[in-house]
Amino acid sequence: MKKLLLSLLLASPSLLFAQGSQVNTQSQKAVGMAGAGSALFIDEASIFYSPGALSKMDGNGISVGASAVMYRSAFREYNSTEIHDTKFKITPPFSVFATFGPKNSWWKAGIGVYTPFGGSVDWGTDWPGKYELNHLQMRAIYIQPTLSFKLTENFGIGGGFVYNVGLVDLSRSLPVSMADGSSGQANLSGTGTGTGYNIGIHYHLENNVALSLSYRSKVITKLKDGDAEFSVPSSLAASFPNTTFNAELPLPASFNFGISFPASTKVDIAADATFIGYDIYKSLDFDYADNTPVLQDTHQEKKYENAFSGKVGINYRTCEDLTLRAGVGYVFSPVRGPYVSPETPDNNRVMASAGFTYLLSDKWDLTAAYVFQQMQARTVTNKASGLSGTYKTNIHAPGISLTYKW
């Protein structure tokens, strides 16, 4: 007669493509200048950085590049001596850009396949935030066919359609004890798609000052029928049925302004300012196909703010064959303190970079770059879970790309 209906509450899982996951490594030339250079570089990567500049390319090119993003976070819970590090993981964002069209023409076509958002963070199952997150892996792959037109010798305009494939895989511990005393676990994984666009204009002044404006739209990625699997004690299996879920991931729009000007015959300086429309990320909602008293659809507030980043870089052509680059940047976080979570323990960050391009031959270029980003230490209390402590994150991202021109 002891009727004791169990009602374990399952907090909503956290999941997003956030600022912390945005690593712009589409062009290693721009990486070498800390992300600046949308106005300066006129090449196949303009498909991403400045579609209006694409039509100003003389010939055609194809470039293939990849970075090794090493994202390391550390956490110390408030009033605790223990420091927890994320495991060493390398995320390899890649990009492929190719252009097509007649030489020295008024138009150019191109296609880009690149990963503007992505990351991998693994805190493990033995840290104070394990009920928020064990591991998260995610990647957004954008496929962008693009057309660009030269309206005058100095003025180019372009635009592309973006098709996104998003992949997500995350796990978190559940506060139920198995017979051996360990915690249960939830695993969520899925893929989704979304669409958007990328438009821009590029303008050259007579004195070789160049301006670039571009707008990348938001891409609402809908995850459909993702797999939700639960490792729980068998007596609770009925409360945690393996099921599917739907969720929406809003990838923010960004508006970018770039400028470049020659400082001497060999030196160019470029600066970029980017506004990122993160305020579309208001909440994260999970809709499970099967609900139980325990497994309810969830709604989690995110309340992101719009973000801004500023980057400035220098491009130095030492001689015919070799160009050296360096840059610095600053990124304001869109995440308010109470919404900082272990998936991307975000904060304002500083960036410093260096890079070079070497002309291997008339046809081949090799570009390499290295960017280091440091997020300032941030002490927060998460509104949903109450997890309270200090996060600090370093990101190292060496990268390399190879270009073939014709």
Partner: protein, 432 residues
């Protein structure tokens, strides 16, 4: 190409330099521990009852002993000068100690339990294997303030008996046993059983059973004050805790009048709808304010007892007073708890001791619940995460939370910075 190679070397140099400089994991400022002012944590002893001993799931067993809140505190005190902390652990071979309850299954949401009977620590019936090593955790299940001064209690309580030498049994009181040791700091949490022994017996004093005595405020005041006076000799410092309300623990809040009524109505096809209880003013219908114990044998309801039919279902055959705390007794007990807590706070303040207000904390757990890094903690039985399968004693999560309550009290009182326990390392009730 030679120049290119040189450039590559330069860049590789820069890259490896930056990797070395920052290594890969970021550095976070470490926590600055501090023992605070005028406190010496080098020899910490814990005095108390089953909660201090790590009793859980209706028994004392090794896993429970290892996560007893004083043991968790002692581990943290090592950051601020704390020394070794020995507990009378059962051996690995006898790890299941007295035996304990585990959850066997959940059938329609109802817990089915079973008793663990292997690897026990009995040397003979009712007597546990003796522990002879050094002790800093002096927690003894069943210990009370009044009985702490009774030398014969060692002969009656197997958990105390196991700590005593043969010569000390029936000859040495708990008070004498623990106050003759060296200590520099202590935790003291006694008094619960001076209330609970009576309450668990349905607010009924069984004649001849001293563990069901409802300790008077006078006895408590003298006993408590005397104990603390002795422990604080030579300006020794410590932390004490208040006594929780009985209504804060699932032992008294799980079997409710409504649940019993619903069960009776269903099993008698609606012939009976009420529960009748015995009170000081005669039999009456049970209300939602009357509390039943978790140990109430529900299968006796409706049976014939003492030759009368329908036990508990008619005013002619009401439930025995032993199984229910009627609402007047609830008030009486709450009043006594408050009186004891007033004494505890007065004594603690006069001796400059830290006070862990377990009474307030467990009331908060009961009323609003507590959320800790994604763990929801409430006073609900089994799924509340705080209380073990006996409905009285703490789970490892509960012990970790209580350890932090004590640490907070110590830090506040003595201006110390003792680091907190990471509660997520500990479990709630194990599910099959």
């Amino acid at each position: 190409m030679k120049r290119f190679n040189n450039t590559i070397k330069v860049y590789l140099g820069i890259i490896s330099l930056s990797l070395t400089a920052y290594s890969c994991a970021p550095e976070i400022d470490s926590y600055e521990s501090s023992a605070g002012s005028d406190v010496d944590f080098s020899t910490y002893i814990a005095i108390g009852n089953s909660l201090t001993a790590g009793f859980a799931d209706g028994g004392l067993y090794l896993e429970g002993q290892q996560v007893a809140f004083p043991n968790l505190i002692a581990e943290q005190l090592k950051n601020v000068g704390g020394g070794n902390f020995n507990s009378p652990f059962f051996s690995e071979e006898q790890r299941n100690g007295s035996g304990y309850l585990q959850l066997k299954s959940l059938t329609d949401g109802q817990p089915v339990m079973e008793q663990i009977t292997s690897n026990l620590a009995y040397r003979e019936a009712g007597k546990l294997t003796k522990y002879t090593g050094e002790i800093q955790n002096y927690g003894v299940p069943g210990m009370r303030v009044d009985l702490a001064y009774v030398p014969q209690f060692g002969g009656l309580n197997m958990y105390f008996e196991r700590l005593l030498s043969d010569a000390e049994v029936n000859a040495k009181s708990y008070f004498d046993f623990v106050t003759t040791r060296d200590h520099s700091f202590f935790s003291f949490w006694l008094g619960n059983n001076d209330i609970l022994g009576y309450a668990m017996n349905g607010a009924y004093e069984t004649v001849g059973d001293a563990t069901t005595t409802f300790t008077s405020v006078t006895t408590f005041t003298n006993g408590y004050g005397g104990f603390i006076n002795k422990l604080t000799e030579n300006e020794k410092k410590g932390v004490v805790a208040t006594i929780p309300d009985v209504t804060a623990i699932p032992f008294f809040t799980t079997v409710t009048t409504d649940r019993l009524k619903a069960g009776v109505e269903a099993s008698t096809g609606g012939a009976f709808k009420e529960i009748y209880i015995s009170t000081a003013s005669g039999p009456r219908i049970a209300t939602a304010e009357d509390l039943f114990t978790l140990s109430f044998p529900t299968d006796t309801l409706g049976k014939t007892s003492n030759g009368i039919q329908y036990y508990g279902l008619t005013p002619l055959n009401p439930l025995h007073d032993r199984f229910v705390i009627d609402k007047d007794e609830v008030v009486e007990i709450a009043g006594r708890v408050n009186a004891f807590n007033t004494v505890i706070k007065q004594v603690a303040e006069s001796k400059q001791l830290a006070i862990a207000d377990a009474h307030a904390y467990l009331n908060k757990v009961k009323t609003t619940g507590v959320s800790y890094n994604g763990i929801n903690v409430s006073a609900a039985f089994i799924q509340g995460n705080a209380f073990s399968l006996d409905g009285i004693h703490l789970t490892p999560i509960g012990n970790a939370l209580i350890a932090n309550l004590f640490i907070d009290a110590i830090n506040t009182k003595y201006n110390a910075r003792v680091p907190k326990v990471d509660v997520t390392k500990y479990r709630g009730v194990k599910y099959p």
